[in-house]
């Protein structure tokens, strides 16, 4: 396995509570890795470590290492702003900014100093196509993004991330509020995108993990209980807890 992210004995504390209890996991390059586990098991916290959004929380203590391409991103020398340009994030609730569809996607590129109209149009339309949204919005790029449906908004958020050409895309329960058709479109997009990107998909829907991820991880109460190829985890899990979770006995 070609490792993109190597998490090494990661411990995270909020105040005195240990939220992640010594996580060790290697995440494969250009694959989809699915994170599953009941609410409160620390999946979102782990995501926010990888993109350093945890910096905005108070009273956090972090121990251990998170290596991306062998560089520890928890190091003090790492600039979280430039790190976030290499790591795209899609959140559970689609959050369009209060501007047009086009300007939502152009937001990141403009920050990088890309202001040329033709170039912007090219990269914006490319990323909309990759997010399977282009056909639905190509005639109304000037419309406010908040007028799109929830499913369209979530694909807009995906496109907004893709336009920055990140190396890694983190998706934290991106389909939790979406209808089956929108969900299918996002899954289709992700399966296509993994050729170029390393994808981490958190989902409360084990079937979704089984459908599209190459590797699957099961978290429970801040610990990584099981990790392996999706096939192995779903057909022959090594832990009873995993089996119970997958078969829907708790969750």
């Amino acid at each position: 396995m070609d490792v993109k992210i190597k998490i090494d004995n990661l411990r995270v504390y909020f105040e005195k509570n240990e939220i992640l209890k010594g996580i060790k996991i290697n995440i494969a390059k250009n694959m989809i890795t699915g994170f599953m586990g009941p609410a409160g098991s620390g999946k979102s916290t782990l995501i926010s470590i990888i993109n350093r959004m945890i910096d905005f929380e108070d009273n956090v203590k972090i121990e251990g290492r998170v290596l991306i391409d062998d560089i520890n991103i928890l190091d003090k020398e790492i600039n979280p702003v430039s790190l976030r340009r290499r790591i795209g994030t899609v959140f559970a609730v689609p959050i369009p900014l209060q501007r047009s569809i086009f300007e939502n996607i152009a937001y990141g590129p403009r920050l990088k100093g890309i202001n040329d109209k033709i170039e912007l149009f090219k990269i914006v339309s490319d990323s909309l196509k990759k997010a399977f949204l282009w056909d639905e919005v190509k005639d109304r790029l000037d419309m406010s993004a908040t007028k799109l449906s929830g499913g369209q908004q979530q694909r807009l958020c995906l496109a907004r991330t893709l336009v920055l050409k990140p190396e890694i895309i983190l998706l934290d329960e991106p389909c939790s509020g979406l209808d089956p058709i929108s969900t299918a479109k996002i899954e289709e997009a992700l399966s296509e995108l993994k050729k170029e990107y390393t994808i981490v998909l958190v989902s409360n829907n084990t079937k979704q993990i089984a459908r599209i991820s190459d590797y699957s991880a099961f978290f429970y109460l801040g610990e990584l209980i099981e990790y392996g190829t999706t096939e192995k985890v779903f057909t022959n899990p090594s832990q009873k807890k995993t089996e119970d979770y997958i078969s829907g006995k708790f969750g």
């Binding site: 959050i95 900014l97 920055l164």
Partner: protein, 278 residues
Amino acid sequence: MRINPKKVNKFIQIMLNVQAFFTVGILIVIVALILVKGIGNINLEFLFSFPEDMGRHGGIYPTIIGTIMLVILSILFATPLGVGTAIFLTEYTKETILTKIIRFGVESLAGIPSILYGLFGFIFFVIKLKMGWSILSGVLTIAIMILPTIIRTSEEAIKAVPKNFRIVSYSLGATKWETVIKVVLPSATPGILTGIMLSVGRAVGETAAVIFTMGSSLRLPTSIMDSGRTMAVHFYILAREGISMEKAYATALVLVLSILLINIVAYYTMNKVVSRFS
């Protein structure tokens, strides 16, 4: 005796209606009074000619210019300072003793009667800094006077911007400053504009603090070091010294109509801004 909630509800509803009617009614009476008394004396000549004989005859041109200069300059001065302070208080600091002190200071400043601002402006700008009775002294004084309003309304507006917008901006690789400029401030603009409009109203209507600092010269100001008179001050002097009640009401009418106009324009542009976003 048991209190019947339905009856209480009905009673409160009636009281609220009476109050609303009263408020609107008083506003209408005031505007109508000024309109009736002032309309006969308003024409283009009144607006664009110079006053003669202390304002007993002629127009109010210099006081219009004086008002515009005072209001625009004090807003231009106070807005960046006030919005900047609000950004600092909301985005760049955690709640500490320092922010508590600043907030307490802002609250206190908001409650001080305007004549005290006038006195301060007179002692500090006019005398100490030797600016004399000038538009500059008036502008600085009024700017300080409206600063608390702008800080407080901006702070509320900035706080009301959903945290998620900031999170998205950061996740797309924006710095804090970029997030403030490109996401937070645009979302907070309607609220900030409300504060500015309130301040415009205060600056236009202010008399005491203006007389002390900007003076009441009827000559047309040609630089910010000249003294000048605003419409509100002109009205006050005309009425108080019994120079001409007709001219006083005409001036008041121009004052009221311009405030009305400013509010309508602001409301309209604000709606446009808001509807463009959502």
